[in-house]
Structures are given as C-alpha cells and as structure tokens.
C-alpha cells in the first residue's frame, strides 16, 4: 500500500506542472489572439474562435488543477508496460528518463544530417543509435539488422513508390 501511495504522490507531483503549462499556454494564446479582429458577431473575425479555444483550454486546466488538489480525485499513475514477460528485468544502463530524451536528440539531428549524408546513411544511423539506446550490446546483430531494414525501406520507398528522399552529398 505504501508503495502504491508513493507512486500516486509521484504522479500528482509530475502532473501539476504539465497542467499548469497547458493553462499558461491557453492564457498566452488568448492574449495573442486578441491581436486579430473578433467582433462583431454579425461578421465574426479570425480572432473570435481562437479566443474561445484558449479560454476553453485555460478553464479546463483550471478545473483540473482544482481537482488535482484533492488526492482522492487525482488520476492513477499509468501502469507499466504489459506483462509480456514474467521473468522480465528492467534494463540497466540508460535510466528510464534518459532513453526518450536520447531518442529525441537522435531524431532532431535527422533534419540537419540527412540533407548532407543522404537518406540511407542517416536512417541507418538512426536505427543503430536508437537500437543501442533501447538496449546496449549485440552490436553486430544491430548493424546487420539496420542494414537489412534500411535496404528494404530503400527498395519500397525509393524504388517502388518513387519517393524523392534526400540523396545528400554521396548521391543516395
């Protein structure tokens, strides 16, 4: 029970800043929307609905913040991954919070690297790096799988569907 309550508190602590951020976004959006004409109602301008939407988001979040003050009404933390393995172990090395962040960094690098290195090399790199982030080790298997998947994707997307993917300086 203690662990469960601790998990519940952890959830509530993390949830409040998210809801607060959404509330602030709603308010800022309303302020920005006031620059566009809203009235008269006989000829509503492009600012009317954005103001309503922003107020709606802020009001929903305000309601949520009020409810989150009451632990009995707060939502439960989401369950962990499905019980697909009875003898499963939580991966060591990358902590839970770092792995998604590392994958985001890899993905954000794609738009900068792909125009120079080309689709094939960049997507191969994305595959290898994200696989290693998810689970370290088995480097040879990862390299071979990445080569196979990227080659297959090249055949489907470029050869079959004729998608104009970035070729980069090397030409493919």
């Amino acid at each position: 029970m203690g662990r469960f309550e601790a998990a519940g508190r952890l959830k509530i602590n993390g949830e409040v800043p998210v809801v607060l951020a959404l509330f602030v976004f709603g308010v800022v959006y309303v302020v920005a929307a006031r620059h566009y004409r809203a009235m008269p109602l006989t000829d509503p301008g492009p600012g009317l609905l954005p103001i309503v939407f922003g107020i709606g988001l802020a009001a929903s979040c305000l309601l949520g913040l009020l409810r989150l003050r009451r632990p009995d009404l707060a939502t439960r933390p989401q369950a962990q991954v499905d019980d697909i393995s009875e003898d499963a172990e939580v991966a060591l090395g990358w902590s839970g919070a770092l792995r998604p962040l590392a994958i985001i960094v890899v993905l954000l690098a794609f738009p900068y690297v792909a125009p120079h290195a080309g689709y094939l090399a960049t997507s191969w790199l994305v595959f290898v790096l994200s696989a290693q982030i998810l689970r370290r080790g088995h480097i040879l298997a990862t390299l071979l799988t990445a080569t196979g998947v990227v080659a297959a994707s090249y055949l489907v997307f470029v050869q079959w569907l004729n998608l104009p993917l970035p070729t980069g300086l090397v030409g493919f």
């Binding site: 809801v19 006989t42 409810r67 985001i104 569907l161 993917l165």
Partner: protein, 528 residues
C-alpha cells in the same frame, strides 16, 4: 448500383490494388497483435505515402489496416489475455477463458467468422447507406455542420475513459493547433510568427505520426524491459473447427452484433469501442446461460467481435457522405483524400463514383483475405510478439521519418513530428488522450468556418443552431449525453462518499481504484 459494384470489382482485382489490400490487412493484423501501436498509429505512419499510392490505393490500404487491426486485436486477447488494441478488451473476458478451457481454436474461429460476416454485411449497408445519407446531406447548411462537428468532439470526450476535463483540454488544444496558419475565410495569417512554414498550418501527417508513432516509441523506451516474451501456443488446424452447438450459439450474436455495430458506427464517438461493450451487455441480457458469461461463453466473443468490425465499416458512411470524420482513424483517411486533392461530401459518389465502388469492392476482397490469412496463420502473427523492442521500435522510427518527410518533401515536417512526439509522450504519460486532440485538429476548420458563416447569415444570432430541426436535434442529443455523464459522475461520487462513511477505514486511494478491465480500457483508449 450492381453494375457500379461489378466495375469496382474489375478495378479492385488489379494486381496493384490487390497487393495494397494484402499489405494493408497484413500490417493491420500485425498492428492489432502488437499492443500499443493501434490502427491510428499504423495509419499515421503510412499517411506520408498517400500521394505516392493515390487516393484509391490509400483508401484500400488504410481500410485494410483498419479491418486488419480489428482481427489482429482479438488474437492476443483470446490467446494471451492481452488486448492488442482497445476494441478487443471485451473479447479477452470470455475469449481467454475459452483458451484456458482448451477451446482457443473455437474462439479464434468465431471471432474471425463473426468479423467476416459482420464486415460483409456492413460493407453492403455502407454501399446502400452512403448515397442515401449523401442525398440527405445536401440539405445540410453551416449550422448542421457546426452541430455535427461539436457532436463528434463532445461525444468522443464523454465516452472516453478518464477525467472529462482532460479530454476537453485536448479538444481545445487540438482546435488551437488547427487554427494556426491562414484563416480560410479572411486569408489573414494567425500565429505564424511571419514564417512561411507556419502559414501552411501545422501538418496533420507529421502531427499524427508524432502523437501516435514517436510518442509510442518514447513511451516504450522509458519502460523497456528485457526478458523472454511469453509466446502463446497457436491452436492446431483441427482445433479451429466449431462444434454444432458452438455454431448455433454464435449465429444470433453475430447477426445482432453486425446490426448494432453498424448503427452505432453512424453515431459520433468511439463506436468501434463502445459497440463491443453494448454488444456484450446485450448478449448477456438475452442469453439463457448468463452464468457462463465471464467464464468462457462463446456469445461473449461472437457479439463484440462482430460489432466492432461492423462499426469500423459504418464509420466510412459519415466521412464519405458528409465529409466529417467521427473517429481519429477517419480523420486520417480524410487527410489522405485531401492530400490527393479529393474532398469527400454529399457530391462524392457523383464526382468520384469509380473510386467509391472500387474501394467498396476492395473491402470485400480485403475481408476475405483476412479470413483466409488469419485462421491458418494465427501462429505466425503471434510470433511478432517475440520481436525485440530494439528491432521493432527503430523500424518504426525509420518509417515515420520517411513518412513525415515524404508528405511535403520538407524537413520542417520532420521537426514538427519530433516535437509532436515529445508532446504526445508527456501528455499520454499523465493520462491525456491523444484521440480528441487529433480529431479536433481535423474538425477545427469545419467547426470554425461553419460557426462564423452561420452567425453571419443569422445576423449574429445563436438561435439558428437550435431552431433548425437537424442541428437542434444533434445539439439536444449532445446536451442529453453530457447531462447523463455528469449525473452519473455525481451519483458515483455520492455512492463513494457514502461507502467511505460506512466503512470508515477505506482510504481514498483504494476507493478510486478502477477494476482491471476499466484500467486496461483506459490505457488503450488512445487508439479508438
């Protein structure tokens, strides 16, 4: 109509379309088998390919994925008690009990047969209902479109599990994101910060891929576990045969589920999900063996499985005849059509009759493919569960990167997708549903334009929405459902307070703990 359908079969049986239908049903089945991805995620990953395969190819591919996921979801529900997607949660109740009693084969067969029969019936109904509703939709004006948009968003929020304020917040966030770009009525740029990229608006393709594809990968990355995956034992071919008694008991639920699913699919909201619950309750009420429900009643598999497949086909009716999607999957199908320069609506069948009938015909073909593929190859599909995350997730990343780039050949969309992925990951982690957000982005322009035009026509009077019979009726239904939900919430709180008062020892945490089926539904209802 019969000649049109025959011509449609002529086109649908071309090798290219057959291949796309096969690809769609295989991807869909895999999507259904794998927990987490869901049809919305799979279709959003493929959305970038839509211009390359054309409008007919896109519809055939996406319909296959949608149906396939319904089939595939039932497999893991029955064999492992792990619903691959939200619509199979109910199937797990009696399906897994049948597996424990050694009747897994019968459960899989009745799920596949029920899905096939319901799918076929609903495709026929779709072929007849769409032109009729299309004629009716010609009478719709801006107030009716506004009411339908509100109904689509509101009913989805009300019927999803979890706090209503979270779903409403996601709707407003989606509407806000949908308002970015050039205003279609005044051509004024909104929230663009003088950038060309934002003046086009936030692309639905990268947004959907981020919210569902990238967010899912990030979520798995955070919770990744290693170890042997529990793989189900696939039944032998001879175990798939139904006994005469099982066949007799399944016939009624399949018929009722087909009709119920189709009717519910025409109503805004997550019909493929809700129809399974309604069908289960209905079958339990009608059954003479009520005590068997929850312990392996075949009616508990046959009814819900038929209902969700029927509802899936019915969801195409409002999209094609009104141009309004009621579910996130249909929102993605709509965007695929728009990417190909086709706007669905009342004139759709007149203007694109060949496309419509080809898709209808290919739905029959796809349904048949699913039946032939799924039963003998059930063991093969369940092997996908053993695919390690460090292979599956990077594959998804490569596909979404290609898809996001390919839609407009711009790296801006890739950046938008990654940002949307991060947003989706954080919000989903804290219990926000992404489905209302995505639907709001799609319905936002229709909602806004119809409201502003209606107000202009009515000289600023809001009365026009309630005095016109169709829009008034739609809004009245929305209000009634909302009031019913609020009354239910209030009564639940009163009961809970009374319960706490009685026991005296009940802690707040245990008092709000949902039962296991509700929790599974809540976790998976991001992909209605």
């Amino acid at each position: 109509m019969f000649n049109d359908l025959l011509a449609g079969f002529g086109d649908a049986l071309q090798p290219e379309y057959l291949l796309l239908a096969l690809l769609g049903v295989v991807i869909g089945t895999l999507t259904g088998v794998l927990p987490g991805i869901g049809p919305v995620g799979a279709i959003s990953m493929l959305l970038g390919l839509s211009p390359a395969v054309g409008p007919t190819g896109s519809l055939i591919l996406f319909a296959g994925v949608y149906y396939g996921s319904m089939y595939g979801g039932s497999t893991t529900s029955i064999l492992l008690n792990i619903p691959g997607e939200a619509n199979s949660v109910v199937t797990a109740i009696d399906g897994y009990e049948m597996t424990k009693r050694g009747r897994a084969g019968a459960a899989l067969t009745v799920a596949a047969l029920g899905s096939f029969i319901a799918g076929t019936i609903s495709i026929l109904a779709l072929a007849f209902a769409t032109p009729v509703l299309g004629d009716l939709a010609l009478k719709f004006g801006p107030p009716e479109y506004f009411a339908l948009s509100v109904a689509g968003l509101l009913l989805l929020c009300i019927l999803l599990t979890g706090p209503l304020w979270k779903s409403l917040a996601m709707v407003f966030l989606g509407l806000m994101l949908g308002a970015v770009g050039l205003d279609s009525l005044s051509a004024e740029a909104r929230f663009t910060f003088d950038t060309i990229e934002l003046s086009q608006g936030i692309g639905l393709v990268p947004l959907a891929m981020g919210l569902f594809g990238v967010a899912e990968v990030l979520s798995v990355a955070q919770q990744v576990r290693h170890g042997r995956v529990r793989r189900p034992k696939a039944p032998r071919l001879r175990d798939l045969l139904l006994t005469r008694e099982e066949a007799r008991r399944s016939a009624g639920p399949i018929g009722r589920g087909s009709v119920l699913g189709f009717v519910m699919g025409l109503i805004p909201g997550p019909a493929t999900l809700t129809s399974t619950f309604v069908s289960y309750v209905l079958e339990k009420r009608l059954s003479r063996r009520k005590e068997e429900f929850g312990k392996g009643a075949i009616e508990g598999v046959a009814g819900p499985e038929s209902a969700n497949n029927s509802a899936a086909a019915a969801a195409f009716v409002p999209l094609i005849s009104l141009g309004i999607p009621f579910t996130p999957v249909m929102a993605l199908v709509l965007s695929a059509l728009l990417l190909n320069g086709i706007t669905p609506g009342p004139q759709f069948i007149d203007q694109h009759g060949d496309l419509f009938w080809t898709v209808i015909a290919s739905m029959f073909v796809g349904n048949l493919m699913l039946l032939v593929l799924n039963l003998p190859m059930v063991g093969l599909f369940t092997r996908v569960l053993a695919l390690p995350v460090q292979v599956l997730m990077p594959m998804i990343l490569v596909f979404v990167l290609v898809g996001a780039y390919a839609a407009n050949n711009t790296m801006w969309d890739v950046t938008v997708m990654v940002c949307a992925g991060l947003l989706g990951f954080v919000l989903t982690k804290y219990g926000f549903h992404m489905a209302p957000l995505l639907l709001a982005v799609v319905l936002g322009p229709t909602l806004e334009n119809s409201l502003r035009v209606s107000l202009s026509i009515a000289n600023g009077g809001f009365g026009t929405f309630v005095t016109r019979p169709i829009s008034g009726a739609i809004l009245a239904i929305c209000a009634a459902v909302l009031v019913a939900r609020l009354v239910w919430l209030l009564s639940r709180r009163v009961r809970r307070t009374a319960g706490n008062g009685d026991t005296g020892s009940a802690t707040p945490t245990t008092a709000t703990e949902p039962d296991s089926s509700t929790r599974v539904l809540s976790e998976r209802s991001n992909q209605p």
